[in-house]
């Protein structure tokens, strides 16, 4: 057989070589699938389409856990539910054997209990039963002596009664089996329902806990933001009498800035620098602020002076703010804290003489380009960050419909 096998194999190899292109497609006729549907050559395999399904599934579960706030696997939730089920089915409160029975029957097939009764032979009682025997001779003797027996008493009522009783027994057994089967089904169903309910409750309670924590966190954040807004508004309000006359409209031009108080001079300079030494830039910043703080009245909106106050630590040479509460540093600290950057907060609050890294940090964090090293006071990124943090849209100025309008 070896030689024959060898021949067959050789023949097959030759056939295979001839048919290779055809067979490899697994079909007959031309390959009319699109290019993207055609099987790729195996030589192209290495390094292509590196997808790690396990990693993707981990990511998916991680995202679910993050969203749901539950970092527990299904098995862990099941375990937790099992413990809760134990506590619900407290053995002190219920019959101890009931839980075991429930568990046992839940694991059983519904009709398993019903098998027990039919396995027992159903006893039938006929008119020959009392004379029956597995010994033929004895059976014959009894049959012969039967008339004699009937002289002493009438066995027929007895036979009839026992016959009826046997039938009743069979019926009762069937009823019992049916009842047991139903009971088993119900037990299994109840156990399953209770188990599922407890699992759901466990899951929901975990979600609830997670959500309540999130609500607390968001609540704290809202409070913090409200305080910060009040603080910034208060500081802006307090700084206005010294910064410029209240009746004077804010006009973003170097000329107007030159007319303001000396305290604002540096800030104005800083603001102008922020916008790339362009008067348009100042306008742009103000417009952006106005749009983002729509709840503020025009008079309350941040001016270039406030910008300077915010940026003041970044300009060591500038005059200090009035002591009435014009304390820009905490505001900037808040900004830094709000973006979740401890380093920025520390830098801002710690060293006014070295403001640039902090502001740069803020700028980077806010997505703005880092400030050039030659410009010590570049507050714009911080302010822009603040503006973005306040919920403003980051759309470019040139695309905004009010881009050419000045602030009233």
């Amino acid at each position: 057989m070896g030689t024959a096998l060898q021949k067959v194999l050789t023949l097959m190899e030759q056939k295979q070589e001839r048919r290779r292109g055809h067979v490899q497609r697994g079909r007959r006729g031309p390959d009319s699938r699109g290019v993207d549907r055609r099987p790729q050559q195996t030589q192209e395999r290495p390094g292509r389409d590196h997808v790690d399904v396990e990693q993707i599934m981990r990511d998916i579960r991680g995202r679910i856990a993050q969203r749901q706030g539950i970092d527990l696997s299904n098995q862990q939730i099941q375990d937790l539910a099992a413990r809760r089920l134990e506590s619900i089915l407290d053995p002190r409160a219920i019959r101890p054997s009931l839980l075991d029975a429930l568990r046992r029957t839940a694991g059983e097939s519904p009709s398993r209990g019903a098998d027990r009764v039919p396995n027992e032979p159903a006893f039938t009682f006929e008119d020959f039963t009392i004379y029956d025997s597995h010994r033929g001779a004895l059976r014959l003797m009894r049959r012969l002596l039967n008339p004699l027996l009937k002289l002493f008493f009438n066995p027929n009522p007895l036979i009839r009664a026992l016959h009826l009783q046997a039938g009743l027994n069979v019926e009762a057994a069937e009823r019992d089996a049916d009842r047991d089967r139903r009971q088993t089904e119900w037990n299994a169903l109840h156990y399953e329902i209770v188990q599922r309910l407890v699992t759901e409750v466990s899951q929901v309670s975990l979600e609830l806990k997670s959500l309540s924590m999130r609500v607390e966190s968001l609540d704290a954040k809202v409070d913090f933001n409200a305080r910060r807004v009040r603080e910034i508004e208060g500081s802006a309000h307090r700084s206005r009498p010294q910064g410029r006359p209240p009746a004077e409209p804010i006009v973003a031009s170097p000329a107007v800035a030159g007319e303001t108080a000396p305290a604002d001079a540096a800030a104005e300079t800083a603001a102008v620098r922020v916008e790339g030494q362009s008067p348009d830039g100042t306008k742009r910043r103000r417009r952006r602020r106005r749009g983002r703080r729509s709840d503020m009245s025009p008079g309350e909106s941040l001016s270039a002076g406030e910008a300077a106050q915010l940026a003041e630590p970044a300009t060591p040479g500038a005059p200090s703010a009035p002591s009435e509460g014009l304390e820009p540093r905490p505001a900037i600290e808040h900004l830094a804290q709000d973006v979740g950057d401890d380093g920025a907060a520390q830098a801002l609050s710690g060293s006014p003489t070295e403001p640039q890294p902090a502001i740069e940090h803020l700028a980077q964090d806010g997505g703005a380009a880092p400030a050039p090293s030659g410009t010590p006071a570049e507050p714009q990124p911080a302010i822009e960050h603040f503006a973005e943090d306040s919920g403003a849209s980051p759309e470019p100025l040139a695309e905004r419909p009010d881009a050419d309008r000045t602030e009233p």
């Binding site: 067979v23 549907r37 099987p39 292509r48 399904v53 599934m57 998916i60």
Partner: protein, 434 residues
């Protein structure tokens, strides 16, 4: 070389997993080997009623011999016996009775195998759990090559099958998980075995657009192919999909192809196309976003292989060891354990086209590497060649005597199954013999 393929049913229109598998293998190997199919006259696997005429037949150029089934299956009796052997300690005789009750009992087929000494070099027996494979393996032990198509099901825990797994000449497994399971239950690591699986007969052209037009599939869709049955995980699939649909506003339908056993929820996003022709099936599959396999137990899942052959990703139930292992090895499918996983995975497949395409390409690559016909044929031929060059090992363990068979020593099959290791076999596709 002459080869006999023994399978419980055989026909061009019989689409059961193992039966289709057997037909594909017979048709593919026939170009290299003289193949003959021995089967029964049954068409319906629930009754084993004789529907085909007994005697010689020919299907797609393959000679077929059909043998009568001596008795139809009694579903009630089979259920009772199944409960007995699966659920409690029992005797070997009860297991043998269970096997007869399961069917298809065809003594003529087994006699034919016994008489075939010298006629066939090897006899490939499909589906170990059926009568013809069990008694066929005992009849032609020295030439028996088994394709178990075993899943993680209670029947695998029956004691009568363990000598079969240990006594045949070779086993052609469908997956690494199946091999691990059988090795664990029967301690048969010494038996030559190879993970082969089966390829797919793709039509010459796939036309997704035609499927969209024909069936009115205007929206993106997931497709399920197979019997729509709770045992296949379809109830869970409906639940998960409807939960996702309730929360999502995305346009995505669930299209079902196959015979309906389970009631299908009336929902505008769920479409049932029924049983459709192979060409239509492949067209629909080609048009789908992904194939869903909700089943808990699979031996291989030919539908998944077909999806991968067409470059479509698979979304499968993570509780199915085989599919989880296949997805991990191929990097061509995502798995879900619960409704949230399902929703997230669906969203990911819809959102990330790059990922979807990459999964599809990986699937096609995996299919070409492990399940293309040249690879499958080569594995079979290599195995036959190897077996031909080796002497047959010792005979199969005989059945115990009359008295021993009636001792209640066999543990409940579900207990045996529960004691087996579960989970996907770790490893990458490169560790699968190609």
């Amino acid at each position: 070389m002459k080869l006999a393929i023994v399978v419980q049913r055989y026909g061009a229109d019989i689409s059961g997993g193992a039966e289709l598998h057997a037909r594909y293998i017979a048709e593919r190997l026939s170009s290299r080997i003289d193949v003959r199919v021995l089967t029964t006259c049954a068409r319906d696997y629930l009754t084993w009623r004789n529907e085909f005429p007994p005697g010689p037949d020919e299907i797609n150029g393959i000679p077929v011999e059909r043998f009568r089934v001596s008795r139809e299956r009694d579903a009630c009796d089979f259920g009772t016996r199944s409960r007995r052997v699966f659920g409690r300690t029992h005797t070997l005789q009860e297991e043998l009775d269970w096997l007869k009750s399961e069917g298809p009992v065809s003594p003529g087929l087994i006699s034919r195998l016994r008489r075939s000494a010298g006629e066939f070099d090897f006899v490939v027996l499909f589906s170990v759990r059926y009568y013809q494979a069990y008694y066929g393996a005992r009849a032609v032990t020295d030439r028996a090559v088994l394709v178990p198509t075993a899943e993680r099901e209670a029947a695998l825990g029956l004691a009568i099958f363990q000598p079969i797994f240990r006594g045949v000449r070779a086993i052609m497994y469908n997956s690494l998980e199946e091999r691990a399971l059988i090795n664990a239950v029967a301690a048969n690591a010494h038996v030559p075995g190879v993970v082969v699986g089966v390829g797919s007969n793709l039509p010459p052209a796939i036309e997704p657009e035609r499927a969209r037009r024909t069936f009115g599939l205007s929206r993106p869709f997931l497709v399920y192919i197979g019997r729509i049955d709770a045992n296949k995980g379809c109830a869970e699939l409906f639940d998960f999909f409807l939960r996702w649909a309730d929360e999502s506003e995305r346009e995505l339908d669930l299209v079902l192809i196959g015979t309906q056993v389970l009631p299908i929820p009336a929902h505008p996003r769920i479409r049932h196309l029924g049983y459709i022709a192979d060409q239509d099936k492949f067209d629909v599959l080609g048009a789908a976003e992904a194939l869903v396999i909700p089943s808990y137990f699979e031996s291989l899942s030919m539908a998944a292989l077909e999806a991968w052959a067409l470059g479509r990703p698979v979304l499968s139930n993570a509780r199915c060891d085989v599919m989880l292992g296949q997805c991990r090895r191929s990097n061509a499918g995502l798995c879900y354990e619960n409704a949230r996983d399902f929703a997230e995975a669906v969203d990911r497949l819809l959102d990330d086209r790059v990922l979807t395409d990459a999964l599809g390409r990986n699937g096609r690559d995996y299919f070409e590497r492990h399940y293309s016909w040249p690879v499958i044929e080569r594995k079979y031929v290599d195995m036959f060649e190897r077996l031909a060059s080796e002497p047959a090992p010792q005979l199969m363990e005989p059945l115990p005597g009359w008295y021993a068979r009636r001792q209640p020593t066999a543990p409940a099959a579900i207990d045996v199954l529960a004691s087996l290791p579960s989970g996907p076999v770790p490893g990458t596709s490169s560790e699968m013999p190609a």
